[in-house]
Symmetry: C2
Subunit: 220 residues, 2 copies
């Protein structure tokens, strides 16, 4: 019974995701769905990335959290248009679903946007199962979290169609973290995925990471 | 429809949790449910804590992950008895439910255990909603994750009946993290909760944290 209902929810989500995908294609907007654990640095990475992309790309962000508008407040200072979605309105959902993205997207001026970034809720399990109509997914992993996270949360890393980002590399000298092993673990789950090593704090590694974003947006 | 089914699942879980609670009371076992984001240091904290508790308390651990037995392998070297539960057998569940804990607990020699620790799946949203029959809950937050996590994940911090632990304080000199603000945020959600500041790496703060565990176990 429970399994059947879950399947029904996911089927309905997939249908709405396809409608979103059509809408974004019609408006010529590239959509990136960014996912990670809580506290891996999604917002800081976006704050720094969008400030540097802004001259070339018109961007907007839909940012999901169970509670608070902290992240949208931080993002709005970059010149992007950030819209906060709080899932406590929907019962404290642990992921962003396609219908939530549709509602938020229709409030944006899609005609004037090249790149829409969805900053998903901090959670390495549930968001992976919900297609929101994105063009690609980016999974962020902080080097403070341990090398084995790709093996422990394989669905998230396997379904990541865009790129994997290892963040907070400025902390490596103070950690017992083997970054090559972490990258090997990612590649063992998803062999062809590009992996970027960055620090949102120092912007180390940002040239390659931002080039990748610009390339995928242009390729649409 | 979906909401009704979710309520039914949670009601069934609560019933099983009460049965677990009765079982643990009959066997005189104190049960701690430890929750956090992925990579906050639950396993390392337990490895170091259990090695020091072992002379005074007989312990066992049920450790949950979607995949891998890495954590149980790490815990078993401490002398505790660690049992790994992988939720990919149950469709990749993002939390440990009461019936899963019951099945794992019945494989343990409960008569010989004083303290059973459940290391929940790394996730700050879903595990909070599932009573597993524990005596109290501990939420762990790494200081690498940002001060506002208690405000973003209030259900987890509000329903935490035991203690909150701020881990990885050895990294504070390299972070822009205000630990007093983090503690204030925890207390704004859950005013009476004790908060411990520890480093699982250096064992800083362990005396108070381990005293607290010994006191709650004795109080049962």
């Amino acid at each position: 019974m429970e399994v059947k209902i879950v399947k029904k929810v996911l089927d309905a989500n997939d249908t709405m995701a396809e409608e979103n995908r059509k809408l974004f294609r019609d408006k010529n907007v590239y959509v990136l769905n960014i996912m990670s654990s809580p506290g891996s640095g999604k917002t800081e990475t976006l704050v720094k990335s969008l400030a540097r992309l802004e001259p070339e790309l018109k961007t907007a962000v839909i940012v999901g959290d169970v509670c608070t508008t902290n992240d949208a407040d931080r993002l709005n200072v970059t010149g992007t248009h950030a819209v906060q979605v709080n899932t406590d309105e929907f019962g404290g959902d642990c992921h962003l679903a396609a219908h939530v993205i549709r509602k938020a997207a229709l409030d944006l001026d899609l005609e004037s946007i090249d790149l829409l970034i969805v900053e998903n809720i901090g959670n390495l399990v549930c968001p992976a199962e919900f297609d929101i109509g994105e063009d690609s997914r980016v999974v962020l992993l902080s080097v403070t979290e341990g090398e084995d996270k790709p093996l422990k949360y394989p669905v998230m890393f396997k379904l990541c169609s865009g790129a994997a980002v290892l963040n907070k590399v400025d902390l490596l000298p103070y950690l017992d973290f083997n970054i090559d092993e972490a990258e090997d673990n990612i590649k063992s789950i998803n062999p062809d995925i590009p992996v970027f090593r960055i620090s949102a704090k120092t912007e180390e590694g940002f040239d390659d990471w931002l080039s990748w974003i610009k390339d995928v947006v242009k390729s649409k």
